[in-house]
Amino acid sequence: MKRCNQMVELGRRQFLRGGATAVVTTAAASALASGKAEATPALARVNYPSQRLANVKDLKVDQPVEISYPDKTSPGALIKLGRRVEGGVGPEGDIVAFSTLCPHKGFPLNYVAADKSFNCPGHYSRFDAEKGGQEIFGHATQNLAQFRLRVESNGDIHAEAVDELIYGRLSNVLSV
């Protein structure tokens, strides 16, 4: 039961944190989008924002940084894995970022450094941070949404797109 309470608490914290700012972000973006729509045809893909997450020098191996992308209501984790992986960025090719909403039922995932996996306390799903978020075990019908990253020459890490639909939204960018 203790574990469950922790889970609920963590979930509440994440959603409240996101929710409070979401109203502002969404409203502002909607106004902007509707203004644009009159002048230009709709785009084939959603228009992802480029967002600075951190600088490579801020990251320590296996110490995930809480981030959110593409907006404040979509929590994620930025991780330096310490080993080069496919899709990793930075000088060592070991920096990755993922959505931390379980794509099964939206419970917040916990990062376990011991085996570099994301774990869902809701229904035990597991995703491999070193294999592009591959579902090791679980109930989600997709592998974990990964944020595509770009590193600037000064070491700033930017998120620029997402490779799967994020749990709880039918458009990864809500304000199109």
């Binding site: 574990r3 019908t141 997709q142």
Partner: protein, 820 residues
């Protein structure tokens, strides 16, 4: 790279989109779903008054929302000839799954046939016949008249035993009451076919004769009992992976303690101690891990027995429970027979059982106490659940009965928090004319085919090459026999029907076999067929089934079947009419007349002819009434129709009356006799590795749809074999390396999957996979009722190749949930 769909937006269902009732067409649990469809040229909007959900979709939705679906739940399909968007999402109001979707069922949308998105392009769209050295499309009339001609000629020469049939007998996809009735009617009523078998075993028999012979039907409780039990006993069932939402929605609340209120409400006047679970399985599964996560390790007792020793363990538990007096004397007296004789016959000491099972004496006595020791003076409520570990394991009949002995002795049948139930594989959907003529033991059909018997083989949604025992030998002979017919067919012009059938018959007289395969996708055995008939699946037709608590629902037809494919029941109707015509043309009017009564226009006609007229309580059940009952349906048998609702039966045997002549459940003697099936002990002595086998979470059955699904094939391109890392090291294996598994029965391939929790020399291989059928190495040994023993298989393992690209990219981390 790990497979990603790169979908960043999905169409929003508009307000007023059509919604229909659906039951997942895969496993026995039968989760409720909704099919939401709307015109392809329309879409809803994100505001509450613009969308089906009535929710503000400009905002991130919370966990467990009802207003989100994953890309795998979406597709574009045809409905009455028009393209429509389809969302197949779990129903939050269904009591079975409460909105949960498994990794299998929640991909039904994506696994639907779509000419727009290209999914399931493998689906069969037309009848095909062998001509000009290949399989080519033809008309239903052409295909069915050829099948009928050959079938009639074979029966004329060999009698009805010359027609061999392999057919589903279950619910869900490749089954359903409509289709089991139709196939039953043609083979058991119009004909009396004896040489018939079921999709996953080589004979026409029950997997659970044992419990039925005691008068205890195997699906006797309800899923809620798992929330009410004081103790759950799980035997050879890996419920988290194979009955996922039954486990998550009904076992977990009990293990977590969140069903306590329900216990207090329904079972007042007794203590409700923290729930315990006993898991009997040689392998540590993710189910064990999940139970420990929820209950704490001190309330989970995992008995990792020596494989195949369940029976002696059960007898020891029964002996211990009887000795302690932890039995329900009143129930035994009122509702059972032969208790004392059973106890005397099955007497086994804890020490003897410890020796055979490899458990400690303490573990066995602890299990007995957890199962039966009264709680504060009241009877402990214990639910017993078993599945393929027992059913496909050593000495099926006795082992099944030994477990039911314990459940009966402790008064745990027909009462809340109890039950002794199989967990199930497919849903159920059996209604057929009497099969009494088949006999018991039934014919060992695979051995007949291997032995050159029969001239024509009708296959209904079975793929022996993947799902039978002794599969490599079966395939070798089957191919040889069907190739003889192919060679004969190639020797005459296809259009000369008389010459063609004569050529086929000539080959059959030489030992050839004419093969007719009815399926929804190309199967492995279908590669050797001469006629392929395309079937529709659940949702492309209206289809009824019941789940593991006998919950019957109607899946409504929400999309069109691919091309010219048809529901199996209507294929049967066409075949019956073709046979009638063929027999009449041959001047046998008396035989032709037996094929009357198939003038069904729809699957509903077959349902009314079958279930409504022949199932127990069937007279209360119609499609219209089932539509009203929605995804919750009712629990069979129906006993009434009242106030617009079908009235069902929550638990069987609640009145203490059982399915025997005298109404009393019968205890059975079930003496331990070691490894029962012929040759198993010798195989164990000869080969070093146990090749245990079963299912995995990602996939359903023989992956007949998932073999065409990128998400699944990106995870398990080759069947895994879980091995202890030290065993891998000794064989020079790295993760993902390809190995050959071999013994005197045959050989197959798998991918080494390092599993630290696996015991040394005890492997576990994914079953029924097209890229490496485990059945190739399973011996032909069966029990006295022709039940196979897949689980106790021993073989050797050697490296074939370094990990190829498709396995190199996989994760090999532990599947067990961890908090770090």
């Amino acid at each position: 790279m790990t497979y990603k769909r790169n979908i960043d937006r999905l169409p929003i269902p508009p307000k007023g989109a059509r919604v229909q009732n659906v039951v997942c067409h895969y496993c026995i649990v039968g989760c409720g779903y909704h099919a939401i469809t709307w015109d392809v040229n329309k879409q809803g909007g994100p505001l509450p008054d613009q969308n089906y959900f009535g929710q503000d979709l400009t905002k991130q939705q919370a966990q467990e929302t009802t207003a989100w679906f994953s890309p795998a739940m979406y597709n574009i399909v045809k409905q009455n000839g028009q393209d429509v968007h389809l969302v197949l999402m779990p129903d939050h109001d269904c009591e079975v799954n409460s909105g949960l979707g498994s990794i299998r069922g929640a991909r039904q949308g994506e696994n639907s046939y779509s000419e727009v998105t290209g999914t399931q392009s493998q689906r069969l769209t037309d009848p095909q016949v062998y001509r000009y050295s290949g399989m080519y499309p033809t008309s239903w009339d052409d295909a069915l008249s050829l099948v009928a001609e050959v079938t009639r000629r074979v029966i004329e020469e060999q009698g009805e035993d010359g027609l061999i049939v392999s057919a589903f007998d279950h619910g869900g996809a490749g089954g359903g009451y409509e289709n089991t009735w139709a196939t039953g009617k043609i083979y058991f009523e119009s004909m009396k076919i004896k040489n018939i078998r079921i999709h996953n075993r080589p004979a026409y028999n029950s997997e659970v004769h044992g419990t039925r012979d005691m008068g205890v039907g195997e699906l006797n409780n309800c899923y809620e009992d798992a929330e009410l039990a004081d103790t759950i006993v799980a035997v050879g069932t890996n419920a988290l992976e194979t009955q996922t939402n039954y486990f998550l929605n009904h076992w977990v609340p009990n293990l977590r303690g969140t069903s306590l209120k329900k216990k207090q409400d329904q079972l007042a006047g007794e203590a409700h101690p923290p729930t315990r679970i006993v898991i009997i399985d040689p392998r540590r599964t993710t189910t064990v891990n999940a139970c420990e996560t929820e209950s704490g390790k001190d309330r989970v007792l995992h008995l990792a027995i020596e494989p195949g020793t369940d029976l002696i363990l059960f007898n020891a538990l029964m002996t211990e429970i009887a000795a302690k007096g932890w039995v329900d004397k009143e129930f035994i007296q009122a509702s059972t027979t032969d208790f004392d004789a059973m106890v005397a016959a099955n007497k086994v000491t804890v020490a003897e059982a410890a020796q055979a099972t490899g458990l400690s004496a303490d573990q066995i006595t602890k299990a007995a106490a957890w199962i039966a020791e009264p709680k504060e003076g009241k009877r402990r409520r214990t639910m017993f659940a078993y599945e393929k570990g027992l059913i496909w394991g050593n000495d099926n009949y006795r082992t099944n009965q030994a477990l039911v002995n314990i459940a009966l002795a402790t008064g745990n049948i027909g009462r809340p928090g109890g039950g002794c139930v199989r967990m199930g594989g497919h849903q159920e959907g059996y209604v057929r004319p009497s099969d009494a003529h088949v006999g018991r033991p039934a014919a060992y059909v695979d051995q007949l085919l291997i032995g050159g018997k029969g001239g024509v083989h009708h296959i209904w949604a079975c793929d022996h090459y993947k799902t039978t025992l002794n599969a490599l030998e079966f395939k070798r002979i089957y191919k040889k026999r069907t190739d003889m017919v192919k060679a004969a067919m190639a020797s005459v012009p296809y259009g000369d029907r008389v010459a063609l059938v004569n050529a086929i018959m000539g080959a059959i007289r030489q030992g050839g076999l004419f093969s007719v395969d009815v399926d929804i996708v190309p199967s492995k055995i279908g590669e050797d067929a001469h006629v392929i008939l395309p079937a529709a699946t659940s949702g492309e037709m209206n289809l009824t089934s019941m789940n593991g608590e006998r919950r019957m629902r109607l899946t409504e037809r929400y999309m069109d079947p691919p091309g010219n494919s048809k529901p199996d029941c209507l294929i049967v109707a066409g075949l019956a009419q073709a046979l009638e015509k063929s027999w009449r043309a041959a001047g046998k009017n008396d035989i032709a007349d037996k094929f009357k009564g198939y003038d069904w226009k729809t699957e509903e006609d077959a349902f009314m002819d079958g279930y409504n007229k022949h199932a127990g309580g069937g007279q209360f059940v119609t499609y219209e009434r089932l539509r009203v009952m929605g995804t919750n349906g009712f629990q069979e048998p129906a006993v009434d129709f009242k106030d617009g609702r079908i009235v069902g039966t929550k638990r069987l045997f609640a009145d203490g009356k059982f399915g025997t002549k005298d109404g009393k459940a019968k205890f059975m003697p079930t003496q331990w006799r070691g490894l029962q099936a012929e040759g198993k002990q010798q195989e164990k002595d000869k080969f070093p590795f146990l090749i245990n086998n079963g299912r995995a979470n990602h996939v359903w059955q023989s992956v007949y749809l998932d073999q065409n699904n990128d998400f699944v094939m990106g995870r398990w391109p080759v069947p895994f074999i879980e091995m202890n890392p030290s065993d891998m090291q000794e064989l020079g294996l790295k993760p993902g390396d390809l190995v050959e598994v071999y013994n005197d029965n045959g050989s197959t391939q798998a991918m080494a999957n390092p599993t630290p929790t696996a015991k040394r020399k005890q492997t576990f291989m994914l079953f029924a996979y097209p890229t490496g059928p485990q059945g190739n190495v399973v011996s032909k040994g069966v029990n006295e009722f022709i039940i196979p023993n897949y689980k106790q298989t021993w073989g050797n393992i050697r490296k074939i190749a370094d990990a190829p690209e498709v396995t190199r990219r996989l994760t090999f981390k532990s599947q067990e949930y961890t908090t770090g």
